[in-house]
Amino acid sequence: MSESLTMTWHDEEAATVVRIAGEIDAHTAPQLRTRLIEIVAEGRARLVLDLTGVTFFDSTALGVLVGAQRRVRALDGHLGVVTDRPLTVKVFRMTGLDKVIALHRTLQQALDWQATLPRAGG
């Protein structure tokens, strides 16, 4: 199989940035879901998922992002997505989820957005 999914993450002041690259489908989504659950379980509730390097994105991927958003919101956190790929934006729009999950064209825009949001726990 040629498909692969890579994830790296680091903490910035405004949020934890998770860079995701490769193909997200029914095969690779479970590992993404597991990793995001771990990151949130460590207390990180302000996430920016950078999907700039994602070359395939389907409804399974959407499900993972919606689940991650539910988890960070339970901790009064926020989740934003960075993508400039028409394919990914299209899948968001078709399902109306572009109104539910904040999409940003650049990482800096997503971090600026996070910085404007209230911090959990005051």
């Binding site: 193909e23 489908d25 029914a26 395939f56 899948v91 078709m94 989820l97």
Partner: protein, 144 residues
């Protein structure tokens, strides 16, 4: 089959009428293989890059809907019928429950928005199938 890689500018034969069938283990591990096959066949029909991308997602969604109920060790059969200006793709797999794909899902929403005509049914032996028909040169539903 006699074409060389450089002959696409002056293609002698149309692939219309050709049927291509791909049989794979009913496992998500092979979704990427099927997407690649889909893209290759759509390119032979001169679909645009955007349309090819739509088809890759549509076929992926159709298969991803079947896989959770596929019988153990089942095979997923994907049949591509190439037409002059369209492609019909039917995916089928024997299942344990024979349940129609749910319509109230992201997956079905994406599939129908991208593929145009979509149908699904259950044949003998609890084989569930989903078919989609996509024409060249038509705007996709929600993507305008």
């Amino acid at each position: 089959m006699s074409e060389s890689a450089l002959s696409t500018v002056n293609r002698p034969e149309s692939p219309a009428g050709d049927i291509v069938e791909v049989t794979l283990p009913a496992s998500s591990a092979y979704l990427s293989v099927l997407r690649t096959a889909t893209a290759g066949l759509a390119a032979r029909l001169d679909f645009t890059l955007d349309e090819i991308e739509d088809l890759r997602i549509a076929v992926d969604e159709a298969c991803a809907m079947l896989l959770p109920q596929a019988a153990p060790d089942a095979e997923l059969v994907c049949r591509f019928a190439l037409e002059d200006d369209a492609i019909e793709v039917t995916v089928r797999a024997p299942t344990t429950r024979g349940v129609q794909p749910e319509r109230e899902t992201f997956s079905w929403t994406v599939l129908t928005a991208l593929a145009g005509e979509v149908d699904a049914g259950i044949d003998e032996g609890l084989t569930v199938w989903i078919s989609l028909h996509k024409r060249r040169g038509l705007p996709t539903g929600a993507a305008s």
